[in-house]
Structure formats: C-alpha cells, structure tokens
C-alpha cells in the first residue's frame, strides 16, 4: 500500500515536471470541453426538452463524463494503454517489482492533458449543476462509480490483447465508450440502446449518473454500483489471466 501511494506521488510529480506545459495542456482540454457545453446549450435552446433531457440535465451528464473520464484517462492514464503495453512488451518493468501489477500499472502514469477534464467537470457541476450538499454527495459517488466502470472497461478491452495479439480492441473500446457516453442514452433505440446498457456500458458512464443526481433512486443506484463493480472485476480477472500469456516482446507476435 505504501508502495502504491509512493508510486502515485511520483506519477503526479512527473506530470508536474513541466509546469508551463501542464497549464497549457489542461487549458486546451478545458476549451475543448467548453465547446461541447456550448453545443449542448445551443442545441437545447433550439430544441427544448426531448425524452426527459434538457439543457440542465445534459450539463450534468457532461460534468459527470468529463470528471470520470478525467480520472480514468488523467490519473489512471495507463488504463487505455493496457493493450499496447501487453503487445509491445512494456510490462517487464512492472513485473520486476514486488507489487500487484495492475494497481501499479494504473498508478504509474498521469496524463496532464486529461487533468483539465477533471477541472472542467467539477467547475461545470458547481456552476450549472445546482449544487446542494445532497446533490454534491451524489455527484461524487456517481463519478467514482463511473470512473471505476470506465477503468474496468478499458482494462477489460485492453487485456484482450493478451489473447488476440493485437491492441486495436482496446483502442476501439476506448473510443466507443467515450463517444457514445457523450450523448444521452435515450437518443438511441432498439439494439443500440440495449448494447449501451450492457456490452459497451456507456449509459452507466454518463446518462444514469446524471439522472441519479436529478432524481435519486436507490434501485438505479444499486444497479450502477453493481455494474461498476462487475466491470472492474472483469477487467482485473482478464488482465490477471492474460498475464500468464504475456510474451514480453521476446517474440514479434504480429505478422
């Protein structure tokens, strides 16, 4: 445990090594997110409420996904790289240390750019989320759940590289959940909608949390928690089993 905390501290130190770059990278990401917010505000200004979603709720969705995304991609930055690390043989250093490999791997790298997402998400919630103590508490809880879910999902899709020998699955999964999580799930219908609650749990990463902040429902909250834990466990299990098949770049597995 001490070791993992020390690792996290070093990762943050490394990210902050270049203050100027850190500041500008975070700002760039924040501007990126602001444009999304502008789009949604303009959209709902013209369109009005659709399927239970209005400007306020969509900003909650944006706040949740940027905060959770910022945690997963910013603080646990290796989550999206599990696939490529497995295929490129970059896990040797991790496996040489007496630490739990997945935990160390996740804490090993902080991506400064995405820290801007966290700043944006928190600020957005404070400014546009009508924060009360109750809502803030729910916000923190659902962001934690969403981040856990996203991390688990990325580790799961990335770990498929151990079995398939290619890391594209991880990249695809990453883009899919981020893209689809940026929209309210009620826009989708039929098969697509079912998929977003199961295979690519984008609904649980943003839409469900946003709804919970507005109208908390213990049943929905329990489902969110369960799905998050399930994906976290699935990710860990796939990674652990996959490690046994790790070839460490000793052999080029691509054609």
């Amino acid at each position: 445990m001490r070791g993992l905390l020390a690792t996290m501290r070093n990762s943050l130190a490394e990210a902050g090594a270049n203050r100027l770059a850190l500041g500008s990278q975070m700002a760039v990401m924040a501007i990126n997110d602001i444009v999304w917010a502008v789009f949604w505000v303009l959209f709902f200004d013209r369109v009005g409420t659709i399927r239970g979603w209005d400007a306020d709720r969509i900003l909650l969705l944006l706040a949740v996904i940027t905060s959770a995304g910022g945690i997963t991609l910013g603080l646990l930055a290796n989550a999206r790289r599990v696939g490529s690390m497995a295929v490129e043989g970059e896990l040797d250093a991790v496996l040489s240390l007496p630490v739990a490999p997945l935990a160390y791997l996740l804490l090993r790298r902080v991506e400064p750019t995405n820290l801007g997402d966290i700043a944006f998400g928190l600020t957005l919630f404070v400014l546009a989320g009508s924060p009360t103590v109750g809502r803030a508490a729910i916000f923190v809880a659902v962001v934690a759940a969403a981040a856990t879910l996203m991390t688990g999902f990325l580790v799961l899709t990335g770990s498929l590289a151990f079995f398939v020998g290619r890391s594209e699955g991880g990249e695809l999964g990453f883009h899919a959940i981020l893209l689809l999580g940026s929209y309210p799930v009620d826009v989708f219908a039929g098969v697509a909608r079912v998929m977003l609650y199961t295979v690519v749990p984008a609904a649980f990463v943003s839409s469900v949390p946003a709804r919970l902040i507005d109208s908390f429902d213990i049943g929905q909250a329990a489902v969110l928690a369960a799905v998050s834990v399930a994906f976290a466990f699935a990710g860990w299990a796939t990674f652990t089993v996959g490690l046994r098949r790790y070839t460490s770049g000793a052999v080029w597995t691509r054609a």
Partner: protein, 313 residues
C-alpha cells in the same frame, strides 16, 4: 543453491492463421548456480538469453520444465521472489525519466518495505560504493548513459538482493564506462556475496566479470565451464604470427593452416593436437628468414565462436 534449472522449455507461437509457427526460444536447459557465483550467460542474438532470464525473474511462464531461484518458483511466487532479487535490463529503465534518481529510490524503498532510516542509510552507502554522490539529485534525463547505468545499479541493489540478474547491462556504454561497470559488479559480488547472473554477447563481459560461463545457442546450453578452463580445454590451437625478411614459398605441414600470407607476413593456425609448436617453430626458423615471431592463444571471441559451432550437450 541460488538458482536451479531443470529441463526448462519455452515455446512461442507466432504468425497468424496459416503462417502460424512455433518457436522454441528455450529448449530443455538445465544448470545450477551456487550462492556467491558470478555467471555469464552468453550467446548470440536470438539465442534465448533474454527469454531465460525473464522466466527466472517470473516475467514469463515456461512451457515445460522446472526452475527455482532461492528456493522459490519464479512464475508462481513472483512477488515474494522480487523482494529478494534485483533485476537490471540494459534496455529498460527502472528510473523515472523526469525525476531524480533519489525520487525513484524513495518510491522503490516504499515498494520494498524499507523504512526511511534504512532507506537513507542504503542510498548513502550505494552513493559511496558507486561513486555517484553528485548524480542522485539530477533528473535522469540529464544523465549520460554511463551515469544512468550506475544509478540503475543502485536502484536494483537498494533492497540488498541476494541474486542480481542483469540483461545486457553494458549495451551502449563506452569502453571506460563498461570497465567501470564491470568493476562495480565484481565488487558487489566480493563484498556482499551477491550472486551475479549476467547475460551478454560482449565477450569482454565474460573475461572481466564472470568466473563461469554458460553458453547458449538456438535455445540450448552448449557449454558450461569455468572461464579459465575454456580456452585450454576447448581449443588446442595456437596462433603463430611471423614477420618475414624475404618472401617464402607456400608452407605445407600437417596440422598447420595458413590464415594469411603476404611477402612480409605469415599467419598460421596450429592444431597442437596434431603438430607440436616446437616442430612448427623449428621448420619456420630453418626454412624462412624470420624477423619477428609470436605465439599467442586464440582470442576469446574465437573460442566462443567455436563453441557456438558445437552440437547440443
């Protein structure tokens, strides 16, 4: 027994669908290493050196066979073993690039469970041993390769491991840095009885560090002997170099092979099993106008090259 290996095999599957191939990176290798030994594990590129070391450090699972390091099976008990061994891979760094070595040591100390006092003492000790006092507080990206390798060595020695595994540690270093590094390894071994297990394809590493060499090629052990005895036992040859005053006709003699011949130089390889040096020298001194003559052992490179050509043990 520090390391015990029996029948170790590792098979990789590569290529896709119809082009699928099985590559036996390591094939049925066996050897033992006693505590305090200095072993060079040598072979050409692709021989299976790195694969072996990765199995012994728990990074890879073998396909067949057994191995224990300090009584522990590496791939089953990786974390427990990692507390007692150190690893240094020449091409991968333990140290974090943007931070100072000391910051990396602090983290490693926490990972290895050293308390602050102990950590401070160890870092100071290592600074003395490796003559690296002025290096520990400089960001790693500002260090030269030689300086960085010394700091890497400190990193893997921080927790006082009983066995040190090094995979091509001197790669990329200049001559002076290589020499210094080798001296440090020998000192670690003589002062602390740390078992040194070093892979290399640099012959000088064998000459200056190892007492024993295990030679591997195509995944199998083809020779395992004390470095000192390797030359004598393996090659019954000598090289005779002659500077001539006048050109001579071709020299034909049993057990003698002409390496090089010009009007002024004659270079011979003599198989001392067939013909004694004495006979060759007599023939030369009688039949040629000799300005200078030297008789030397073949270089270690040649010995190794010869060994690579040997069939599997």
């Amino acid at each position: 027994m520090a390391i015990e290996v029996r029948g170790l095999t590792k098979v990789f599957e590569t290529g896709r669908r119809r082009a699928r191939r099985r590559v036996e990176a390591v094939r049925d290798i066996s050897f033992t290493v006693d505590p305090g030994e200095r072993i060079a594990y040598i072979g050409p590129n692709g021989a299976g050196k790195s694969t072996s070391i990765k199995i012994l450090t728990g990074i890879l699972h073998p396909s067949r066979g057994e191995a224990t390091v300090l009584g522990v099976v590496p791939w089953l008990d990786r974390r427990r073993l990692a507390m007692r061994i150190g690893t240094l891979f020449g091409q991968r760094s333990q140290l974090w690039f943007e931070l100072t070595p000391r910051q990396s040591y602090r983290m490693l100390a926490a990972i290895y469970g050293l308390d602050r006092q102990h950590e401070r003492a160890r870092v100071s000790e290592l600074a003395d041993l490796l003559e690296a006092h002025d290096l520990f507080d400089v960001p790693v990206r500002s260090l030269s390769l030689g300086q960085r390798m010394r700091c890497e060595l400190a990193a893997c020695m921080l927790h006082e491991p009983e066995v040190l595994f090094l995979d091509e540690p001197t790669i990329g270093l200049d001559l002076l840095a290589k020499q210094r590094f080798r001296e440090l390894l020998v000192r670690l071994n003589t002062e602390r009885r740390t078992t040194i297990f070093l892979t290399s394809h640099d012959v000088a590493d064998i000459e200056h560090v190892a007492r024993r060499a295990i030679v591997i090629n195509h995944g199998s052990v083809i020779h395992d002997a004390e470095v000192a005895t390797m030359r004598g036992a393996l090659l019954a040859t000598k090289i005779v170099e002659v500077r001539l005053g006048e050109p001579i006709e071709a020299m034909v003699m049993d057990g003698v092979h002409v390496l090089e011949q010009s009007p002024t130089i004659l270079k011979l390889v003599v198989d001392t099993g067939t013909t004694s040096i004495r006979v060759v020298l007599d023939a030369l001194l009688d039949g040629a106008s000799v300005v200078d003559i030297s008789v030397v052992d073949p270089p270690l490179e040649q010995v190794i090259a010869e060994i690579y050509g040997l069939p599997r043990r």
